[in-house]
């Protein structure tokens, strides 16, 4: 706890130094080195605390609200999220040690990056409403500054604007939520908030928290800023925003919904579940339609956040019905997925950053065949793809498997509406898992496989060693968490105890390192054995085949059913790859319109294929809103151009009406 706070202080000082050293030649390395050190120390401290059974400790500093002070508290939940935050921070800093050299404007990144890390730590540690919101909004602010780092592009400026407005919207929603929690007396400290509330109030608080945290985490329809802002930032910052900051938002929601708020009624979980389902599906569908690599990843963040919120919603439902064990399973699945997503999403963004640095391209339509110039990057990226597609034996599968297990427990619920809703959500989850696999076949296949689609690819080279180190570190984490999920689940048990007053059977003793969420008869999964068998049979078959058939190999021109075409343009492009799925879902999900304009026969000239996709959230929510604001502004703006006499009559009217009120009052 104290250690983490010291690290935060160190980061803040580093931020101040960043202003100075930004221009220096070694400034980048120096600063990221400091961030790496601080994050690693904090990570170790938090990890130690978590594994040691999460002792609760708190500190009050004479800052913030004068009569309250700044309360900081470190419990199981906080420790876990500290681990997530600082793991992401450490790896991102390591990556940036190498990647930061490509930064054109370091003085716009270096001061804010450490502050951003510090803010995320503070949010997790905060134990009173003021400190929480201060750190929360500070986090948004620093990340906004980082998004604006490359402010010359008009898109980035717009992204930053949308991001900041959405972030402030979320903060204000949380502000209202805490206003309800604190009551008129202003009991802002978290420990004074654990009081019984009327179901209406708690429902209102939950809704506000969902708005606030959801707008930060990217729940549909509050997600619009995310695919704009995350790609705009420098890649290691994108990794932090996607992999870590959204998790801090999840933390905020869990803290309010499970800790501060007593027990919200069951139907609030219906809201969460349905929102989460929509988010999951829409997120992955949008992702499939993208051909900007980083934007695709950003949309996938939306999907994964949806998966996490499915787990949270299940936990809410189970807890409302007093099924502690099931609730523990659901929340464990959600938290496990939080960890996993932070791992592989950072990894993937690092890969995207390496591609961007190597080729200067984010558009997949201009990439291809990168596996030859950058084999190591593509290897790490492949691991990330397999992990995020929820394929065994990597970690993504484990958390989704746990979520499925939790869903299968749903018949125990009392409410019919939930019994009906949850299997539907399960279908959505399965669908989105399959779509995610499709999406990453596309992402990897178009970007790294095939033949180069633009000369930019040919001059690419493998990333520097720091970036590779960070990526392979994360890849190994993905593998370990997938093969040995048991220890992770055991580490999570203090959280589940404190959040839903239940816990999973301890996994340490199970044979062959299997995980048994409920009972061996209900379903078990053994990542280790699956991995072992797969490796074994792969090696066995390879050995056998080579023994039987020899290893003779001949290179030849691609056959391609008889008529190969030398031009790389004949390859499947990202758009054409997604076309069948677009046909299936597109017309409903985002009003996809395809137009092919053929030149008249005999005239030379290319046929033009035009594709139009709309984000319904924009069309139905944000565009009308902004239009209304504009209209109101125009109407009111006429007041700027009146004559003095009219202004005087305004004063006069105000006076007369007030006098009338006073006259008629008593």
């Amino acid at each position: 706890m104290l250690v983490v706070l010291c690290c935060v202080a160190a980061l803040l000082t580093a931020a101040c130094l960043g202003i100075g050293v930004a221009r220096a030649r070694l400034g980048t390395a120096l600063l990221y080195g400091a961030c790496l050190a601080a994050s690693t120390v904090a990570l170790m401290a938090a990890l130690a605390n978590l594994l040691a059974g999460a002792a609760v400790s708190d500190i009050v500093l004479p800052l913030g609200l004068p009569w309250l002070g700044a309360h900081f508290r470190d419990d199981a939940l906080a420790s876990f999220f500290l681990v997530v935050v600082n793991l992401g921070g450490a790896t991102a800093s390591l990556y940036a040690l190498g990647h930061g050299r490509h930064e054109p404007a370091p003085q716009r990144v270096l001061p804010f990056y450490p502050a951003f890390l510090a803010a995320m730590n503070l949010v997790v540690l905060a134990d009173d409403a003021f400190t929480f919101l201060l750190s929360w909004e500070f986090m948004s602010l620093t990340s906004w500054a980082l998004v604006m780092a490359h402010h010359r592009e008009a898109d980035n400026a717009r992204a930053g604007y949308v991001y900041l407005v959405m972030a402030s919207f979320g903060t204000l929603a949380l502000l209202l939520a805490f206003g309800l929690l604190a009551g008129p007396g202003g009991g802002y400290a978290f420990e004074t908030m654990h009081v019984a509330r009327s179901s209406l109030v708690s429902a209102l608080v939950l809704a506000l928290a969902l708005l606030g945290a959801g707008s930060k985490a990217g729940l549909v329809p509050l997600h619009v800023w995310l695919p704009l802002a995350h790609p705009a930032a420098p890649s290691h910052v994108s990794a932090l925003m996607s992999g870590v900051m959204t998790k801090v938002a999840v933390y905020g929601f869990i803290r309010i919904a499970f800790d501060l708020l007593g027990a919200p009624s069951w139907w609030s979980s219906m809201v969460v579940l349905s929102l989460a389902g929509v988010t999951t599906l829409m997120g992955v569908l949008y992702a499939l339609m993208q051909h900007d690599l980083k934007r695709l990843l950003a949309y996938h963040t939306v999907e994964n956040i949806g998966i996490v919120f499915i787990g949270i919603g299940l936990a809410l439902a189970f807890r409302a019905d007093g099924m502690a064990g099931a609730a523990a399973l659901a929340i464990t699945a959600a938290l496990f997925h939080v960890l996993n997503h932070s791992l592989f999403k950072s990894l993937l963004f690092f890969g995207a950053g390496a591609v961007l640095a190597g080729t200067g391209e984010r558009d997949m339509e201009r990439l291809g065949g990168l596996i030859h110039p950058m084999p190591l990057v593509s290897g790490a990226f492949l691991v990330g793809c397999v992990a995020i597609s929820a394929l065994p034996p990597l970690n993504g599968f484990v958390s989704e498997w746990l979520t499925f297990q939790a869903i299968i427990l749903s018949p125990g619920l009392a409410q019919w509406s939930l019994k009906i809703l949850i299997p539907a959500v399960g279908a959505v989850l399965a669908l989105s898992a399959a779509l995610a696999a499709a999406c990453f076949v596309k992402a990897f296949g178009i970007t790294f496989l095939g033949r180069p689609r633009s000369p930019a690819v040919t001059k690419a080279a493998d990333a520097d060693r720091f970036s590779l180190a960070a990526m392979f570190l994360l890849a190994s984490f993905c593998l370990v968490a997938g093969v040995l999920p048991g220890p992770v689940i055991d580490a999570l048990s203090p959280l589940t105890r404190s959040l839903v007053a239940g816990e999973l059977p301890t996994q340490a003793g199970t044979s062959w390192l299997a995980i048994v969420p409920v009972a061996a008869s209900r379903g078990s999964y053994d990542g280790f054995l699956v991995f072992f068998f797969m490796a074994l049979s792969a090696l066995l078959s390879a050995w056998g085949v080579h023994r039987l058939a020899g290893r003779s190999l001949r290179r030849a021109a691609p056959w391609d059913c008889g008529y190969p075409d030398p031009s790389p343009l004949t390859q499947y492009s990202a758009a054409s790859f997604a076309q069948p799925i677009r046909r299936v879902f597109g017309s409903v999900a985002f009003r996809a319109r395809e137009r092919v304009t053929m030149p008249p026969p005999g005239t030379p000239g290319a046929a033009v294929f035009h594709l139009e996709l709309r984000d319904l959230a924009w069309d139905w929510l944000y565009t009308p809103l902004s239009r209304w604001v504009g209209i109101a502004a125009d109407q009111l703006n006429q007041l700027q151009f009146l004559t003095i006499r009219r202004y005087l009559s305004l004063v006069f009217l105000a006076l007369v009406s007030l006098l009338l009120i006073v006259a008629l009052w008593t």
């Binding site: 010359r152 919207f169 204000l172 206003g179 003095i644």
Partner: protein, 482 residues
Amino acid sequence: MNILSVGAEAVLLIPLCAAGVLAALPGYLGPARINVGASFLTLLAASSLLIEAHPAPGRYLLVDDLNVVFLALNAFVGFTTSVFSASYVGHEVETGRLTPAYLRFYHAMYQILMFAMNLALMANNIGIMWVAIEIATLTTVTMVGLYRTHEALEAAWKYFILASVGIALALFGTILVYVAAEPVIGEGLDSMIWTTLLGRSASFDPALLNVAFVFLFLGYGTKVGLAPLHAWLPDAHAEGPTPISAVLSGLLLNVCLYAILRFKMLMAANAAAVAPGPLMVTLGLLSLLFAAFMLYRRRDIKRMFAYSSIEHMGIITFAFGMGGPLANFAGLLHMAMHSLAKSGIFFAVGHIAQAKRTQRISEIGGLTETHPWLGWSLVLGVVAIAGLPPLGVFMSEFLVVTSTFARAPLLAVAFVAGLLIALGALFLRLNGIAFGAPRGSNAPVKASYAPVFAHLALVFVAGVYLPPPLVSWFQHVSRLLG
């Protein structure tokens, strides 16, 4: 009049003497320095007030928990503004927008303005308070018209007429208060001494007090710039010299709001009188929403920040209207924070306008690249007044919203909507001004950054740490405000 305390007298006398001297001196370099020096002495005197125990209130003057903070703030902003105006005015003279003759007048008026505001703050007599505010108004009117352009004269005239009407209304309210007090306290000066009034106001005639408050609120409210009485404010800020815009936004609005607060205390002390809360809440919310929407269509950078001043005055009035210890505390804090942040912004804006040779937002762009210091300090300032942490405004807005929502949810929602709309507008413009491809000239400008940084630093510190004495003063006052 009886000696209150050396510091208190000094706060009044130094500016007065300085005004006399400056009116006599030619040139601009020397007077500018004298101006700075005098303001600095005033600052010293005011800070001595902070340290020493409050002297017993006299018949004309008093120093208490409420005004001591604002006296210090006044003196501080007065000092920094004088520093800023030294370099600003120098540039104006070089470009020939001002002649030394005008400057003599300008500096003298500046000190008189300081004197008048300090007097209004320290006055223990509602009549003197009124007179002081009138003087302050007249001086600012003359300074707004300083550039003698059509727009400047227009703005000055609009300001003058509306302010005169406001003053008249305020005077009527003052007379009514006297009439209400006279039967209880007796004829003569005693019925105008604020401390006495506060002590006895419980037995005043409530109906009379209500009418009086209506007049006082509208009268002084005109000068606070509450919608729909705001009309003079944007143009006066936009057309006058930037130091005056800074003083107007930072100090004069506060002083007039302070006057309203004094009378609100009277109302609060009288049980039978109508509670002024709803009235203030209504006008505050109206100003907030109105200004928030107006921000979207601004093309002149100074006028934009003038509208944001209207917005913040609305916020403060709303807070005091809500009442309760938290909201009142927030209101007082917000007054201080806003005056620091806004004057700091105007310092930056003044130099920006000089560097880019225009006030049109559409012709300013990419400041963070062409003039990094100016640009980033503008960004920081906007972040501050948009109510983003870790700066002080965030704390006050946090307190207002949280304390309101538990009591009047709908009001809080409207309030929050206003904040969000205003923030959207501010950052929409900031995107164009501070970021993106550079527009306008990128010639280096001789600017004095110290005042800007000093203000922003104070706002930042207040955002994370408030000194205990300040807190205790504010808490005491918020109890009085009811």
